[in-house]
Symmetry: C2
Subunit: 275 residues, 2 copies
Amino acid sequence: MELWYTERQTDNLGLTLRIKETLCVERTAYQELAVLDTYQYGRMLVLDGAVQITEWDEFIYHEMITHVPLCTHPAPRHVLVVGGGDGGTIRETLKHASVERADLVEIDERVIQVSRQHLPFVSRSLDDPRARVPVSDGISFVKKTRAAYDVILVDSTDPVGPAVGLFAPEFYAAVARALRRDGIFVAQCKSPYLDQGLIRQAFSHVSQVFKIPLLYTAAIPTYPSGYWCFLLGSKAHHPLQFDEPRARALETRYYSPDVHRAAFALPKFVQDSLK
Amino acid sequence: MELWYTERQTDNLGLTLRIKETLCVERTAYQELAVLDTYQYGRMLVLDGAVQITEWDEFIYHEMITHVPLCTHPAPRHVLVVGGGDGGTIRETLKHASVERADLVEIDERVIQVSRQHLPFVSRSLDDPRARVPVSDGISFVKKTRAAYDVILVDSTDPVGPAVGLFAPEFYAAVARALRRDGIFVAQCKSPYLDQGLIRQAFSHVSQVFKIPLLYTAAIPTYPSGYWCFLLGSKAHHPLQFDEPRARALETRYYSPDVHRAAFALPKFVQDSLK
């Protein structure tokens, strides 16, 4: 018997993967959560029917959401990750020696527990003494925080279900208040090919709050269209003036100083869509 | 009824698209040829079960295979396209005012005829007086040509069926002979994520023939992994010293001078895989 999982990425488009084993499927308080073992891409975390990470290509997303802002900040000490209960973004954050504390605020405890059980390649980082994992609602957590972080990474699901508020203008304003005076924030921001309306809107919100608003991209095979967008807001430091020697010294598989720079060269139609 | 077409990109991975209409399916002398109309991506050309172009994202592939070498060459006059019977690469080539003649050598006449009938957005260019379309085997054509072209673009199917010889070391040597002394060649070279063995081998062959061998990439949603590789061999001109004003003046939707430069910044694992 051949078992296939198909993610309906839009009404008319899907990605389909042959499945070795279903390791877990459950409905949590917030969403449907599954871990599948695939022949092509290894273990895969799926939330509400959307692939979040796979063992094979998670390094791209996690390196790119993390190292671009952390190499832009001259000495990031305190980092907050909103969402990202699998631990991959924390793993990359802790590669930076200057980081003294990395807080993970995940709303759904089951994502953390299931990742600890089935996805050790990302979740192992959560046992690091510099990591703190308070289970709580990222939106309220950020709202009551003041000038406490150097970098905030919004490693969320797409804007349906629990993540809707993470794409709202009030949230970006709260993020700005939770950052120190030279803080930087990055959020995953969907596909430049499939989600131009959402990207334009989010970029416009962030432009109203941050002095330096920018988009950058990465090629991520298991996300819809294979091409993904990150939205960056910075209070002081420009990401094209980043710490190249520190970037070069990182142990990475996708990220490099050249890739850092190139990620900001947007295809013409994406650049035009922001005007 | 919902009709879906699934491309089995590997044994364990597929892309699936909802179909509006099947415009044509036939077996030619060389391959199985189909044109499907999809809800997501418009009309789509499929050869031997592999998506070649879609109405929605063909501009990315055609702009990137063409403008990178043509903006690197100071004054391309004669251009040869091997394969690419749909006409998209010729369309981009003819955007360069210096081009006096663009020859298309497609082995399968039916690809040209069916494209003329169903894919006018690419095939219209074949009626341009500067385009010549001799139907013939690209490999023999290139082998008997001497110092005749400024740029040769290998816009082929993947290395199965009629295209196998286009990835062989003898072919790259023949391409070098068919080029003028400062000629440039580019070939599509599959996915950096899924085809590293093939890419390493092709890169090594091209390195033995051309003074300047390089890889560059583009994000193409409908190709396996959504991320695609182009292999460039140049006899004299380095693609990072290109004609920026000319590049900026082109009417494009993906390509720009920044995108040209960024395309050569390979992810670390791709760079490492060439060593």
